[in-house]
């Protein structure tokens, strides 16, 4: 059975095509003002690479904050939509069946999900209206430090000292970064302080629903090597990052499509 999952996130749209539970192809693209158009490109890329047509896909399930943009809308015509929380749990369980806790840190949201049997959601928590625990925070701080966002993680790993960062919000944190720059603190140490702050914010949120091993980190921020060490330290546990962690929600959506057809 061939199904597809589309995760229309705040910054990227991710498309995954599954065949009998295995990933056939995946693609992603930046989300533009026209969300449907932004989704068509990666969707057609996956079709082209697999040699499939839309009719070959038995069912498409969309997730993410922009999911309604592709729900029943040609040429994609997603038949069903599910929330990211449900898709995350299902996707993480499919890839790592021992998962009990999923931490998803995306561009604008951080989420913690307690996962039950067969990838059902037992409980969840999402950050409320604050970018300080999400990928956007790293981007804003990278701008303040005048470094590329992809360099932030490797920079943090070179840090030699711990600098506390107390601001609770993205805007005030930027002021704090500027102050640290003026105080001649190195970019490496500031970068580490930024990642420590995100890890602290995310871990205190996830602890509200309880952290049980195995803990799986997904979402775009999982690709950032500077985030994993402080998160492990805050949670005092090992954290697994699956291959292509930013696609896990889309995998979950595709799995939900498969299960509803069985």
């Amino acid at each position: 059975m061939i199904t597809a999952g589309i995760d229309v996130g705040a910054k990227f749209v991710k498309v995954v095509i599954l065949k009998d539970g295995g990933v056939l192809e995946r693609a992603k693209a930046l989300v533009g003002f026209d969300v449907l158009k932004s989704t068509i490109d990666p969707f057609e890329t996956t079709l082209k690479k697999t040699g499939l047509s839309r009719n070959d896909i038995e069912k498409i399930v969309a997730t993410g904050m922009g999911r309604e943009a592709v729900h029943g809308k040609p040429p994609i015509n997603a038949e069903e939509v599910v929330s990211v929380v449900v898709a995350d749990a299902k996707g993480a369980f499919h890839l790592i069946p021992t998962v009990k806790t999923v931490i998803d840190v995306g561009a604008e949201e951080g989420r913690g999900v307690k996962v039950g049997p067969n990838g059902i959601v037992k409980d969840f928590v999402i950050n409320e209206r604050c970018a300080a625990g999400a990928g956007t925070f790293v981007e804003a701080m990278a701008r303040a430090l005048e470094v590329k966002v992809e360099d932030m993680g490797p920079l943090a790993l070179k840090s030699t000292q711990v600098i506390p960062m107390n601001a609770q919000c993205c805007v005030f944190a930027e002021s704090e970064v500027v102050t640290l720059i003026h105080s001649k603190v190195s970019k490496e140490d500031i970068s580490r302080a930024i990642h420590d702050a995100i890890a602290s914010r995310i871990s205190s949120m996830v602890l509200r629903v309880g952290v049980e091993r195995d803990v799986v980190l997904i979402g775009g921020v999982a690709l950032n090597p500077g985030f994993l060490p402080p998160l492990k330290k805050e949670l005092n546990t090992d954290v697994i990052v699956p291959e292509c962690p930013e696609y896990v929600g889309a995998v979950g959506a595709a799995m939900i499509a498969s299960e509803s057809k069985e």
Binding site: V84, V86, D123, F124
Partner: protein, 446 residues
């Protein structure tokens, strides 16, 4: 998309009667002086039966419902927030209180249909009780703001900080006597500041009305155990409010008797508040008043909110019966006949108010919530982490843990009852949708 059973629904026959009662309440306060009467201001939990002894032409405005009314009319609420912040008050204070102060600062008054009239009516006196930090300071600032306009409004506050007795527990005499003494002094004070002679018979009538009205509301809420629920919480907000305004008045008792009979009839005939009920929830604390459409969005998933400890117990009086059920509080054996009997009756009655558990005994609040979940056949609890009311939110995270320990699904969300800037409708709906999906619910066919 799933099709499910559709229950019959009907509009409440007494809906307009309630609406008119609310309208006349605000009109009476506004025009009290034109009618030759006097008016006072205070909180919804104040001992409103006491000023009733000054005569039949004594009208009040209670601050929390008025603050909620302002919140409902967002444009006016935004003006109030701006005025309060411009005056130097922080936006972290009680949102009702800020709305109320804002109207005074703007010298405007909002009516129940949203009409804003020039000239905020100045009360002849303030009659308040101190139950939370904001209640304590609220009217001190009102007095200060009115004084700036040239009117020195006399103020009396009753300290009720003797702890919460719980629904069934005996209250120590010294606690009751402490409050009775303040009320006795208050009656002398009322005579002095109004120049009126106090009438004990009117006091006894008012106390008896208050006891009956608050027990009747609990009886009405009990009828929502029926499946389908005959009332939904969004509608209940417009109904419970009567007892936050005029719990001491005979009109309130009469309206609740009519409502009780109608709701009983609806329950017997299987008339639903919402046609597609399939998942029952309760909430907690005041809702974000500017966003009551959340309840309508929930209905698209077949979810009905059938109340809350807040809706049931803010003014409703309850007790645990011998079989463990949580039920309307039994009325005292007889109506009070003297001032002393009336004051003792109303103090003992009030100190059993379930909603006061928020302040003093979170574990008891959790217990009452669990009883509601069990007896009203509730599937999940939605907790409003209400930044606008520290008093009712103070232990809410502990309540969440207690409910989770009991295996009850809980969805917490952040917001503000009276300041729309602190409520993210789209974000909350996205999270709520995720919660419903995690409960196995899908959106119903439109």
């Amino acid at each position: 998309m799933t099709e499910i059973k559709k229950y019959p629904t009907e509009l409440l026959k007494c809906w307009n009667e309630g609406k008119n009662l609310r309208k006349s309440y605000y009109d009476d306060y506004l025009r009290a002086h034109e009618k030759g009467g006097i008016r006072w201001a205070g909180g919804a939990w104040t001992f409103s039966s006491i000023p009733a002894g000054l005569g039949e032409d004594v009208y009040c405005i209670t601050g929390e419902p008025y603050g909620a009314t302002i919140a409902f009319f967002k444009d006016f609420a935004a003006q109030c927030h701006d005025a309060v912040e411009a005056a130097g008050f922080p936006r972290t204070l009680c949102a009702y209180m800020r709305n109320y102060w804002g109207a005074i600062l703007l010298d405007k008054h909002v009516l129940t249909d949203g009409t804003v009239v020039e000239g905020a009516p100045i009360p002849d006196f303030i009659w308040q009780d101190h139950i939370c930090c904001s209640h304590g300071k609220w009217y001190q600032v009102v007095k200060w703001l009115e004084k700036k306009k040239g009117k020195d409004v006399p103020m009396y506050c009753v300290d009720v900080s003797v702890g919460y007795a719980g629904p069934n527990e005996k209250i120590e005499d010294y606690k009751v006597n402490y409050i009775i003494q303040q009320l006795n002094d208050g009656i002398d004070w009322l005579e002095k500041v109004t120049g009126r002679e106090y009438n004990d018979k009117l006091l006894c009538d008012a106390v008896w009305n208050e006891i009956k009205a608050t027990s009747l509301w609990a009886e009405i809420c009990s009828l929502n155990k029926a499946i389908p629920a005959p009332l939904d919480e969004k509608s209940m907000y417009s109904l419970y409010v009567m007892a936050t305004l005029i719990k001491h008045r005979p009109e309130c008792v009469a309206f609740y008797e009519t409502l009780r009979d109608e709701v009983k009839d609806r329950a017997n005939r299987g008339i639903a508040a919402t046609p597609y009920e399939r998942f029952r929830v309760i909430t907690d604390t005041q809702p974000p008043w500017g966003f009551l459409k959340v309840f309508r969005e929930m209905e698209k998933y077949g979810v009905v909110s059938l109340g809350s400890l807040y809706t049931f117990g803010l003014i409703g009086m309850w007790e645990f019966k011998s079989d463990g059920t949580w039920a309307p509080k039994t009325l005292p054996e007889k109506k009070p006949q003297t001032r002393e009997e009336a004051l003792r009756a109303i103090v003992e009655w009030t100190l059993h108010k379930p909603e006061w558990a928020h302040f003093y005994r979170p574990e008891l609040k959790t217990q009452m919530m669990k009883e509601i979940v069990d007896q009203w056949k509730v599937n999940a609890v939605l907790l409003h982490y209400n930044r606008g009311c520290e008093g009712l939110s103070v232990h809410i995270a502990e309540n969440r843990l207690g409910l989770l320990d009991a295996g009850i699904p809980v969805f917490p969300f952040e917001g503000n009852m009276g300041d729309e800037r602190e409520f993210d409708f789209a974000g909350t709906m996205a999270r709520l949708t995720a919660f419903f999906e995690s409960m196995g619910l899908k959106k119903l066919k439109e």
